[in-house]
Structures are given as C-alpha cells and as structure tokens.
C-alpha cells in the first residue's frame, strides 16, 4: 500500500494520505522559497543574497534594496503565487466536475468572460476602485460558464470533448467582443485594458495582494468543504447519485467555486492561459491522490508555474518584460498537445 493513515485527538482528525504527499508538499515549499529568493534577487536591479537578507530582516527606508524588495518584487511574487494557486485550483475543480482532463478556465471561455466584464468596467467606469473588479469579473465569468453549460448540454456521447470545443468557440466569440469594445473606447483606457489583457502581474502592489488575500481567505474554507463531494463526483453522475450525493447541487457548487477562483485571479492579472490545465495534470502524474490532497498540491504547483513564468518573462529578454500569460501559453500549449496525444483514454471517450 502506498497510503498511510493518521489519527489525531482520538480520531477527531483523521485521514489517509499517499505516502509521498507530505514529501511533495515539503519539496514544493522548498522550490517556492528558492523561487522567491531568485525572483527577489534577479531583475534590472540585482540584489546579492546577503543584501536580500538584510533588506528582508531589517528594512531601512530610503535604501534602494529595501524599496525594490518591499515595494516591487515581494508584492509581485506574492500576487503571482496567489494568482497561480487560484487558477490551478479553478482548473482542478473544473476538471474534477466535468471529468475532463482538458478543462481549463482560460481555454473554455470563463477567463474571457471575466476579461470582457473587467474591460467593460475599465472603459465605461474608469474611476471605480480596484475592489469592484473581482465582483464584475465574477459576473462575467459566471455568465460565460452558464452559457457553456447551456450550449454543451445534451447528448452525453463525446460530451466532454464537446464541452471543450464549445468553450473554445465561446472564448473566440467573447474575445472578439472584447476587441470590439477596445476599439470603441478611448485610446488611453484601451491601452490600459490591453496591457492587462496580456495576462501579467507587473502592476501588482500591496493593494492588489490585499484584494487577492481577502478573496482567497473567503474562498478557501469552501475548498475544504467541496473536497468530499468532488471525491464522489469522480465516479460519474449515476454512481454519485447512488452514493447519496445531490449531484446537481454538488456540480453547481463546485463550478461556482471554480468560476469565482478564476474570476478573482483574472480580475487582478488578466487571463493567464493553461495554468488551470497544467497544474492539476502535473500533480495527477506525480501522485494519484484524493481530491483533498490533490487540491492542496495543485495550489502549490499553480503558484510555482505562474511565479516561474513571471520570473522568466521579466528576465529572459530584459529590459523588455514578457507578460506571464504569454510565457505560460508558450509552455502550456505544447503540453496541451502532448495531453491530447497520450490521452487519458480512461476519462475521455
């Protein structure tokens, strides 16, 4: 057996974990810390490791290291990690509930729905505060997800592929509406929206992090709550019903949560492609695990992917900054093709 069980407090907290799950969690934490150190040190202004440590432990105002670290690189890294974690989780939930390994909020139009709503907000009401963007994004994303489900509903044969294709079509449609909206708006507002649409965390500040952290804190208890229905939903709607799950309600909850996570991430960073596809699949390949563990590790991997994409994007072709969304797409699209090639025969028919 690869599992081990644990019981604490007389069995009040108990569970079963894959043997390697804690090992992976530790490994990911180490990787994340290494990435943090690298991201903080590298860039147009190089900071040595001792200097980094000094700026971190005893920040002195007015010192360049301190300003660069605390005002620019740290919030940017944290925003990248949170955005990545949320996109990864959103993808994992979407893949779990549709039982489709190719589902990804940016591929099926959810992110595009959120983008359209935010672009509309930027162009029509340019003065509104940053806190309105997530709500607006959520509205757009939930509309997009309802549309996909409504259009792809029906015959169950090839339904999972149909879901993805409907999503791709819808994404194209929504993107063209967004582009049309951009030509209609004022040029300076359109430029702001355009830079945001490329999918980047370069504007991240502590205020942005604040929005992300509050949102994440609100949504994460729901993640714990959703893990057990997700475990049952894996077996398909018939068996889930037989096991006593209210399938409609469970699906609705999981999809809403997935959409909310994607919307929050998109409202801050714009659409960053393929993270929601890659992170869950990567964890899946590393260890076979139950949804709880899977979600937990997926959040780590998502954070790693976006933080790495951002680091590569801003250092590879310095002084030009490539948005993280472009880097993740250039890496992610070939992996999507590989997933198509070695599909996953069991879950898609």
């Amino acid at each position: 057996m690869n599992d081990f069980s644990f019981r604490f407090f007389d069995g009040r907290i108990s569970g079963r974990l894959h043997r390697y799950a804690p090992v992976l969690a530790v490994l990911f934490t180490i990787l994340l810390l290494t990435l943090l150190a690298t991201s903080a040190a590298m860039g147009s202004f190089e900071i040595s490791l001792p200097g980094l440590w000094a700026a971190l432990t005893s920040p002195a105002s007015g010192q360049t290291e301190t300003t660069v670290l605390w005002e620019l690189r740290l919030p940017r890294f944290i925003a990248a990690c949170l955005v990545g974690a949320m996109l990864g989780l959103s993808g994992a939930l979407l893949q779990g509930v549709t039982r489709n390994p190719l589902a990804d909020p940016s591929l099926v139009g959810v992110s595009q729905g959120a983008s359209l709503a935010v672009v509309a907000l930027i162009i029509l009401f340019p003065t509104t505060s940053l806190f309105w963007r997530p709500l607006c994004a959520f509205g757009g994303a939930i509309l997009a997800s309802l549309l996909i489900q409504w259009i792809s509903a029906g015959r169950s044969s090839a339904q999972s592929l149909r879901f993805i294709l409907v999503g791709i079509g819808l994404a194209a449609l929504i993107s063209s509406v967004t582009t049309a909206a951009l030509t209609y708006g004022q040029i300076n507002l359109a430029m702001e929206a355009l830079s945001w649409l490329a999918g980047s965390v370069h504007t991240a500040s502590w205020k942005v992090c604040q929005v992300l952290i509050i949102g994440f804190l609100v949504l994460s208890p729901l993640l714990v709550w959703v893990a057990s229905p997700l475990a049952v939903l894996r077996f398909g709607p018939e068996i889930s019903s037989a096991l006593g799950l209210n399938v409609r309600r469970a699906r609705f909850t999981v999809i809403t949560l997935s959409v909310a996570l994607a919307a929050l991430a998109v409202s801050v960073a714009g659409p960053i492609g393929f993270v929601g596809l890659l992170a869950p699949q990567l964890v899946h390949r590393l260890i076979p695990s139950r949804p709880g563990t899977h979600l937990f590790l997926t959040a780590f991997v998502g954070a790693l992917i976006v933080a790495l994409a951002d680091l590569v994007g801003r250092t590879a072709a310095a002084p030009i900054q490539l948005p993280a969304g472009l880097v993740s797409s250039i890496i992610g699209a070939p992996i999507f093709a590989i997933l198509l090639l070695r599909r996953v025969r069991t879950s898609l028919s």
């Binding site: 259009i151 294709l165 079509g169 194209a172 209609y184 090639l341």
Partner: protein
C-alpha cells in the same frame, strides 16, 4: 433546402449581387462618392479630381483585396471541409491562419525581410508547418482523426503560435506598431502594395480548386469511395493541401487573419447550391467575396469614424455558427 433547381441559373443573380455590393463598397466611406464619379474614375481618370484619386488609390485596392480574400478563405474552408469530411474545418480553427501570421512575423520581424514579394512565401511556409503539425497531432492522437480531435489539435497549435507572435512583437517594438492593426485582421489601404505579390497565389489556388472540384466531391464521400471512383486520393490530398495553404497564406499576407470566413461561407453556400463541390467551390468564391465586402462595409461605417477590425466582425458572426454546428455534429 435548395432554392434553385439548377445552380447555373443562380450565377447571374450572384454576379449581379456582387456588382451591387462592390458599388456600395466603393461609394461609402469617410466621404460618400456619387455613382457617376465612380464610373468616371474607372474609365476617365482625372488625377486633379480628389475623388478620383481616392477611388483609384484607396477604395479600389481595398475592394480588390476584400474580394480576393473573401473568395480565397471561403474556398480554402470548403476544400478543408471536403477533404477532412469535417463540417467544422476552417483555416482559422485548424491553425493555418496563426501559422501564416507566425510565418510573416518571423520573416519580417526576426529575419528582417524587407521585400514585399517574400512576405507571402513566409506566410505559405508558416501555414504549411501549422497544417502539418495539426495533421500529425490529430493523426497520432488516440481516436485518430475524429472531428473533435482535429479541432483540439488546431486549437493547441493556434494558441501556441498566437502566443509566440505576441512575444515576438513585444521583443521588437518598432515592428509592433505596424503589425498591431494587421494582426487583428483589418482590410486597410495598405493592402494595395501587397496586392501584386499576393494575387498570383490566390489565383493559382482558386484555379486548382476549381479544376479539382469534381474529385473533391468524390473525396467528400470517403477515401474508399473516391478510390473506387478512380481518384488518386493521396495525390489529390497533397495537391489540395498546397492549394488550401497558398489561399490561406496569401489572404493573411494581404489583410491579416480573418477568422471564421472559411466556416460561414461554405455552409451558407451548401444551403443554397447543395453539396456538389463543382457548385460549392465557385459559389463559395462568389459568396465569400460578397460576404467580405458586406462585412468590410459594416466594419467601416457602423461605428464611424471609428473602424472596427474586419476580423472582429467576421469572428462575431462566425463564432455563433461554430457553436451551433458543434451542437449539431458532435
């Protein structure tokens, strides 16, 4: 639902419609130009008359570009649907448009090719690479060559190439300004200088398509049937691949990627003339030219003085049809 018992009887009507739409296309714009002036500008050109200069140097090239691209993309779409026997096939959905754009951007921005005559060549190379990549992925994937798999492979390739195009554009900024409008699929007056270099590719592609129409009909009934009817399917597929690639690539080199034209027009054409490719191909070309002229007219005038990119309008019209088709075929 065949409106005309004989497609040939439709031909004069379609040509007349094309003529009327073309007149509107020339006449409307930032400055409306009277019918008589258009006539004079073509037959009795006077270079001191401002309207004549506008027509000769701006409106006519734009008209010609829109017609060529509309016809080329529609025929390319019709051929792809016939060869793959997949009603959802389209140069954009199967990655050829992004392939051609990628080729042009690599040629112009990375290799610094300056001559207009080589731009279509790079577009052809890019589109060909994309087409082969999509074919390879969908061929080797489990459940090979299913309709959905072809489209998913197309999506993967287009997303990858589109991201690369954006990255290349960001990396050399002076090129970005000139590519930004072109990449959204806009028919502009810039098309005039590319027209002589792109037109031959389109004309050859259209001629080969018309010439092969009879065999495409056989092929659309399946490879076995086609072989039984005496068609060399391998040779034909190869010829049609180059035909589709050159039509798509020349269109992209001319006006940028226009999505969904190759999906919308052949389906509309089939509703009218049936599924015989001897009719589908010529009428797709005609209807494609008419369709794109109307779309371009709308894109130019509806929000004037702002011009929407023509590519945005074709996607707005085409994507809903794509969704309807998915519901029906998959």
């Amino acid at each position: 639902m065949r409106l005309f018992s004989s497609a040939t009887r439709l031909l004069p009507a379609a040509l007349a419609l094309l003529f009327v739409v073309a007149i509107f296309h020339i006449g409307f714009g930032a400055k409306a130009i009277a019918l008589g002036d258009i006539w004079q500008a073509i037959w009795a050109f006077d270079d001191r008359n401002f309207d004549h200069v506008v027509i000769r140097q701006m409106r006519l090239p734009r008209l010609l570009a829109a017609m060529t691209v509309g016809a080329s993309l529609s025929v390319a779409g019709a051929l792809m649907q016939g060869v793959t026997r997949n009603p959802l096939a389209d140069p954009g959905l199967l990655g050829l448009l992004s392939g051609a754009s990628f080729g042009v951007v690599v040629g112009a921005a990375v290799l610094g090719i300056d001559s207009d005559s080589l731009i279509p060549v790079f577009a052809v190379l890019g589109a060909l690479a994309a087409a082969l990549l999509v074919a390879a992925i969908s061929f080797f994937a489990p459940g090979a060559n299913s309709r959905a798999m072809l489209l998913l492979a197309g999506a993967a390739v287009s997303l990858f190439l589109a991201a690369n195009v954006s990255a290349l554009n960001l990396l050399n900024e002076e090129g970005f300004a000139s590519f930004r409008v072109w990449l959204s699929g806009a028919i502009t007056t810039d098309a005039a200088k590319m027209l002589p270099w792109c037109l031959p590719w389109c004309v050859i592609g259209l001629a080969v398509a018309l010439f092969s129409a009879r065999q495409v009909t056989a092929l659309s009934m399946g490879h076995k049937t086609a072989t039984g009817l005496g068609v060399d399917t391998k040779k034909l597929s190869l010829r049609l691949l180059f035909c589709v690639v050159s039509l798509t690539a020349a269109s992209v080199a001319l006006v940028g990627p226009l999505g969904f034209v190759g999906l919308v027009v052949p389906h509309a054409t089939r509703l009218v003339v049936g599924s015989d490719y001897r009719h589908v191909i010529p009428f797709s070309a005609l209807f494609g030219a008419i369709f794109l002229l109307i779309v371009d007219l709308v894109a130019r005038t509806v929000l004037s003085p702002v011009e929407i990119s023509t590519g945005v309008v074709t996607s707005l019209l085409g994507a809903p049809l794509f969704l309807v088709l998915i519901r029906r075929v998959l």
